[in-house]
């Protein structure tokens, strides 16, 4: 934090070049975060741009309780969601799963995870299915899951960031994990 103080103070005073190191250091991880949510490189890049802009405009609100990187990442999550809302083209018209499945245990179903001679192809297929299912998650499910699983954010922070109460945050993550597990279901039938 002490290293951040120098450029932060200068940026707050209006020295926009003082903000450049923050952009250089955080562009790539922000992009990875945003593309996980938007599933689109162009939207992710726009979200990165907006995240930095919003962060700069609101540097006075950064109180140091978290690291600057953490604060910036939280801003970027909402920037990514905003890109999805603006464009709408990435909302897939996939039928919603039956809500009666919510809450049912799903880990008790055995999937075929036996190593096979074509294990590499098998692994690639699994990866593809998971990537496809990530795209089918709703934006909120994906954002909540990415924040919890990839960013390590707490449910409390996830709720604050996504305007959800604690229960809704949990349900979004549960639905995401359930759907991802469900993406592997066809592999059981093919065994």
């Amino acid at each position: 934090m002490s290293d951040e103080l120098g450029w932060l103070d200068a940026a707050r005073r209006g020295d926009r070049n003082a903000f450049r190191p923050a952009v250089d250091a955080n562009s790539r991880p922000l992009f990875v975060l945003c593309v996980r949510i938007t599933r689109d490189a162009m939207l992710a890049e726009d979200a990165v741009q907006e995240a930095f802009f919003n962060a700069y405009k609101n540097l006075d609100c950064f109180d140091g309780r978290s690291s600057f990187k953490t604060w910036l990442h939280r801003i970027a999550v909402n920037a990514a969601l905003e890109q999805l809302r603006r464009h709408g083209t990435h909302v897939l018209a996939t039928p919603m799963p039956d809500d009666d499945d919510d809450g049912d245990d799903f880990l008790d179903r055995q999937l075929d995870e036996t190593p096979r001679p074509d294990q590499h192809v098998h692994g690639v297929e699994i990866g593809r299915r998971i990537a496809d299912e990530m795209e089918r998650l709703t934006p909120l499910e994906r954002a909540a899951f990415v924040m919890r699983h990839h960013e390590g954010e707490s449910l409390e922070v996830i709720g604050q960031n996504l305007s959800l109460n604690n229960s809704a945050s949990k349900q979004a993550i549960f639905r995401a994990v359930r759907k991802l597990r469900g993406a592997l279901e066809p592999l059981r039938e093919s065994s």
Partner: protein, 265 residues
């Protein structure tokens, strides 16, 4: 011990969202129950596979490209701030582009905390330390009350931004895949909305309290929608929004409380 659900295993995996005692019980059960251990192993294997999925990497020029686009905007933003600071005149409000929910947490617990804060703010104002003169005591009370009102306005402004987003999505999209998201947000907003209406009433802002109470039925409607709602229901919602011009009212109210929230006390 209550059976351990898969949802609890997910929370256990992240060590988040469960009481310490429940975490301890699950840890103990994992040591002794083979079936539970197997379920947990499948969860971990799934999440490991998620980690193995590669994400698109940005090209090398991303940072430079980002800065090239960003720098002129930062100059403009700084110029705008300078104009306000130097001349004390609020610059023309930029078109409402993006919700920035992150800096004002809007969750049930935050709304409840706000209620307490507003109540304390007013109570503290009434119970200010004795001062040499009644006029000073009155000024202190007024200042505490005004600060509490500013806090309320800031929270309500953010709440209305979130409400506008939910209304816009309901009015402009037929995408069934976002129903769960919007339904969850609307359900959270119902709870917050009630608390803010109560806080506004206690703060003496009857106009704001009334407006927030008017929002409740539509938020409840959105919180209870299902993806199988008949098309007439969705069209009816759009007609209602258009007929009442509710979105416009939300924006106007949001702008008003935002302006109140940034006034000097």
């Amino acid at each position: 011990m209550n059976p351990i659900s898969d949802d609890e295993l997910i929370l256990y995996h992240y060590r988040d969202g469960l009481e310490p005692s429940r975490l301890a019980k699950i840890a103990t059960a994992l040591e002794s129950a083979g079936e539970l251990r197997e379920r947990y192993r499948r969860l971990v294997a799934l999440l490991d596979r998620v980690d193995a999925v590669t994400t698109a990497e940005p090209d090398e020029s991303l940072a430079a490209r980002t800065w090239e686009r960003l720098a002129p905007r930062l100059d403009a933003a700084h110029e705008g701030k300078r104009n306000v600071d130097t001349h004390g005149v609020r610059r023309a409000r930029a078109p409402h582009k993006q919700r920035t929910r992150w800096h004002v947490p809007i969750v049930f617990s935050a709304a409840a905390s706000l209620m307490i804060a507003v109540a304390i703010g007013y109570q503290a104002g009434r119970q200010s330390a004795p001062s040499p003169s009644p006029l000073t005591q009155t000024a202190l009370s007024a200042k505490s009350g005004m600060m509490a009102a500013r806090v309320l306005d800031a929270y309500v402004a953010e709440h209305l931004r979130a409400t506008e987003g939910v209304l816009l999505t309901a009015a402009n999209t037929d995408a069934r895949s976002t129903f769960a998201d919007e339904r969850d947000i609307a359900a959270s907003l119902v709870v917050s909305n009630r608390l803010y209406a109560l806080a506004a009433a206690r703060a003496g802002d009857a106009r704001l309290a009334d407006f927030l109470r008017q929002l409740e039925p539509i938020l409840i409607e959105l919180a209870n929608r299902s993806p199988d709602s008949p098309i007439q229901s969705t069209n009816g919602l759009r007609d209602y929004l258009r007929r009442t011009d509710l979105l416009f009212q939300v924006r106007v109210t949001q702008a008003r409380v935002s302006a109140n929230g940034t006034r000097e006390t």
